[in-house]
């Protein structure tokens, strides 16, 4: 009889206890967006990132798990412009999830409102290589832009989960405050970089250079996405010698031979940096990433000077 009472009471408790609300499923294309979505969504969201931080965005191999995640997603957070254009649209289509298709309630293009750099002027043709036709999409490497990214994410979350509006707004304010502090801190940290000249492999670092006052005077790729040629490298080496450029920045997913060849002939130093959260130890969050990147460049500059 006692057992029967226990079972009845337990059943009653379980039946009246509120069922745990399902978390909002967010799929972000990169780890940087994943970090921002987690900061804004807090406990109300579960976030996955599709791209590996050490992966070149142009060579993402679509995997079946991407389809599964997109199929179940409430929100898709993407860099936009043409950053994921070679692999994301077919996957979204294959996911059969109309919420996350372009213009859907769960589609968040974080580039909206970003003051973009390097928007090509005039007619764009493939003569210009794999030029980013809407402007440079590596805009997350600036804490000011991270605030805009966060606002876009908060708007998206409010659309799919209006109940959590106050939470998202409060978290957004916190993130904006954190970014303001980060900006003050990193501007101080990056003071030695002001006016320094660099050469990069690809156009990844434009927003970082713009914010922290250093200059990228040339690229190892003659045009975006076009492999370096001997003629272009010869020109670049001469320019580096003339302008006394002492640093080459490259991402881990580009080969090292060409930067080393150029470095050997110019006396420059190659700095390898991953531009994405989680690509290297000590870059698990966005603020850590920004500090890590700037510290690495500053150390290189100060070490050489």
């Amino acid at each position: 009889m006692r057992w029967l009472c226990f079972v009845l009471v337990a059943t009653l408790i379980l039946s009246v206890a509120p069922t745990a609300a399902r978390k909002i499923r967010v799929v972000a294309t990169t780890n940087d967006l994943k970090w921002a979505a987690e900061k804004i969504g807090g406990e109300r969201v579960e976030v996955v990132a599709l791209m590996h931080p050490l992966q070149n965005p142009h060579t993402v191999q679509p995997r079946p798990s991407f389809v599964v995640q997109l199929n179940r997603a409430d929100l898709l957070v993407r860099i936009g412009l043409d950053y994921e254009e070679t692999w994301l649209p077919p996957l979204v289509e294959e996911s059969r999830n109309s919420k996350i298709r372009r213009g859907g309630i769960g589609d968040v293009d974080t580039s909206i409102g970003i003051p973009l750099l390097e928007i090509p002027a005039g007619r764009v043709t493939r003569e210009q290589g794999e030029v980013h036709i809407f402007g440079n999409p590596h805009y997350w490497l600036d804490p000011e832009n991270m605030k805009i990214i966060a606002r876009n994410i908060a708007e998206g979350l409010k659309r799919v989960d209006p109940v959590g509006t106050s939470v998202y707004e409060s978290n957004l304010r916190n993130l904006e405050r954190e970014m303001n502090e980060l900006l003050v801190e990193t501007l101080k940290l990056a003071e030695p970089l002001r006016g320094e000249k660099f050469v990069a492999y690809h156009t990844t670092w434009s927003y970082l250079a713009n914010r922290y006052g250093f200059r990228i005077i040339g690229y190892l790729e003659p045009k975006p996405g076009i492999p370096p040629s001997a003629s272009h490298l010869a020109d670049l080496i001469l320019r580096m010698r003339q302008e006394k450029v002492k640093f080459i920045i490259k991402e881990p997913f580009y080969e090292s031979r060409t930067p080393n060849m150029v470095a050997q002939r110019t006396g420059a130093k190659v700095i390898e940096i991953c531009p994405t959260v989680g690509g290297e130890k000590g870059t698990e969050t966005y603020p850590k990433l920004m500090r890590f990147i700037l510290t690495k460049i500053v150390n290189a500059v100060q070490g050489l000077n």
């Binding site: 649209p89 490298l233 060849m261």
Partner: protein, 490 residues
């Protein structure tokens, strides 16, 4: 009196509380103000530094040099550049750089700006090839031809569906290769969202390679089984057969020279006037084969853990050497495809295919197919290395009225990415003709160079034995695309 004291005390408490709140709020504002002051100070320092830099540049940078000095400097720079260029060229040739384009995903570029808004994605893929054929490589010049210009028009029609049209224009004329209306969101028809419905002229859901249009496939020609079972014998091939018969007698005569040519425009035009029924023989095997048909396709997506399975059923009106159009009933196709994630860098695609319809004799033909595709691309070096291994095997049961003929065919091919721009491919294939009157086998090697994502040059060597005759083929293919071409899904 007590009432007044109580009122006074309440007022005091409220004033203190309000004052504290104000003080807290003032503290926060003060902190923010302090941060802003620090930021302004930092920016001021930055402006000062930039001004100093500008002044230095102005002081040093405009030192005038004489014309002679300038010319000498320029010559010195030019000489230095030439020397460097030669040196770098030597080094690059010695050990080719590890760069590479995207192997599979074709071009996606939205050149244009606002005036392109709402226009469909338009692209042209131009395919030009030159071939040699004979008992030895380069024995006989087969001709050069602009084999195909594939025009693609693709766009969403509305929030629920999209239209994709591919028109192949070749020396034989224009042909709609694929034109499909895909309902991407069938919930407006109160159907489950994981169902995808397609209408129109489709690439038949039979095997994995058949989902790719010929100009984008990894070899110049299609595998033999596709060419024999699904290819269309064009007029010029028919003419070749005539010549072949005149010169060498019947096709079964082994050991004779079966060299033949294709791509001669004059011959083509003469043959286009010939309305004869085209018969598949060893001498007129087409270069390409694509299994297409008109009708309907229902595709169901089943997420299984971190893997995906698709079930497809498609009744199609098909006309090729295996199935006959207008036979009174459609060809029924069914495909089950499973895409398995082995690791973040490796996937395995498995497919089981079935087709059932009527052949040219009005009797039943059934096909069974199995395919697997293994893909590998490392995370960090994905721009420079990748591997695709694809194998497909088909079996047929063709009712001739006097019995059943059981042809079969298969191919296996590997493509390895050597560097950022270079791919090496190898293929071995075997197939019997649908009526099993002859068979063929071949080995191919292809090296493909991608100078950019939008173009490629390919050199291919084939050694084939078809209907008892051994021939070598050497192909040079150039394929370029302009406009916006959507990447292929998974």
């Amino acid at each position: 009196m007590v009432r007044w004291i109580a009122l006074f005390l309440s007022g005091l408490v409220l004033t203190v509380a309000f004052g504290q709140e104000n003080a807290n709020s003032n503290d926060t504002k003060e902190q923010e103000l302090q941060q802003l002051r620090e930021r302004v100070a930092t920016l001021e320092r930055l402006v000062q530094l930039l001004q100093e830099e500008l002044a230095t540049l102005k002081r040093n940078g405009y030192a005038l040099q004489s014309q002679t000095q300038l010319v000498a400097l320029q010559q010195q720079t030019e000489a230095e550049k030439r020397k460097l260029e030669e040196e770098l060229q030597r080094e690059l040739q010695k050990n080719p750089p590890s760069p590479a384009p995207r192997p599979s995903p074709p071009a996606v570029i939205y050149g244009g700006g606002l005036w392109q808004a709402l226009n469909p994605d338009n692209s042209v893929i131009a395919n030009f090839r030159t071939g040699f054929r004979g008992k030895r490589p380069f024995a006989s010049f087969m001709g050069s031809e602009f084999s195909e210009a594939e025009l693609a028009f693709q766009a969403a029609t509305d929030p629920f569906s999209r239209l994709d049209t591919f028109v192949a224009i070749s020396p034989e004329g224009a042909e709609i290769e694929e034109a499909t209306l895909t309902i991407l969101d069938p919930t407006f028809l109160r159907l489950p969202r994981n169902l995808q419905i397609r209408f129109g002229k489709l690439l038949a859901p039979f095997g994995q390679l058949n989902s790719i249009h010929p100009p984008e496939q990894p070899f110049v020609d299609s595998p033999l089984v596709h060419r024999l079972w699904f290819g269309h014998v064009h007029a010029e091939h028919e003419h070749e057969e005539d010549e072949h018969e005149e010169e060498n007698g019947h096709q079964e005569d082994e050991g004779e020279n079966h060299e033949h040519e294709e791509g001669n425009g004059e011959q083509n035009s003469r043959q286009r006037q010939n309305g004869r029924q085209h018969q598949l023989t060893p001498a007129n095997v087409p270069t390409e084969g694509l299994f297409t048909g008109s009708g309907l396709s229902l595709n169901w997506l089943i997420p299984t853990g971190k893997h995906v399975t698709w079930l497809t059923v498609a009744p199609l009106n098909v006309d090729n050497p295996t199935f006959q159009a207008n036979s009174g009933r459609p060809v029924w196709l069914a495909r089950i495809r499973h895409l398995h994630e082995l690791s973040p860098t490796q996937t395995l695609n498995l497919g089981l295919n079935y087709a059932f319809g009527r052949n040219d004799l009005g009797n039943d033909t059934r096909l069974l197919g199995f395919d697997f595709t293994y893909r590998w691309r490392p995370i960090r070096e994905g721009l420079y290395r990748s591997l695709v291994w694809q194998t497909e095997a088909y079996w047929g049961w063709r009712d001739t009225g006097n019995g059943t003929v059981k042809p079969k065919g298969w191919f296996t091919m590997v493509e390895y990415q050597l560097s950022r721009t270079l791919f090496l491919g190898a293929r071995y294939d075997f197939a019997q003709s649908p009526d099993k009157s002859f068979s063929g086998r071949g080995f191919s090697l292809a090296i493909t160079l991608f100078p950019s994502e939008f173009g490629r040059y390919r050199l291919q060597w084939n050694r084939q034995r078809i209907g008892g005759q051994t021939v070598h083929e050497v192909w040079l293919q150039t394929t370029f695309s302009i406009g916006t071409h959507r990447p292929h899904p998974l």
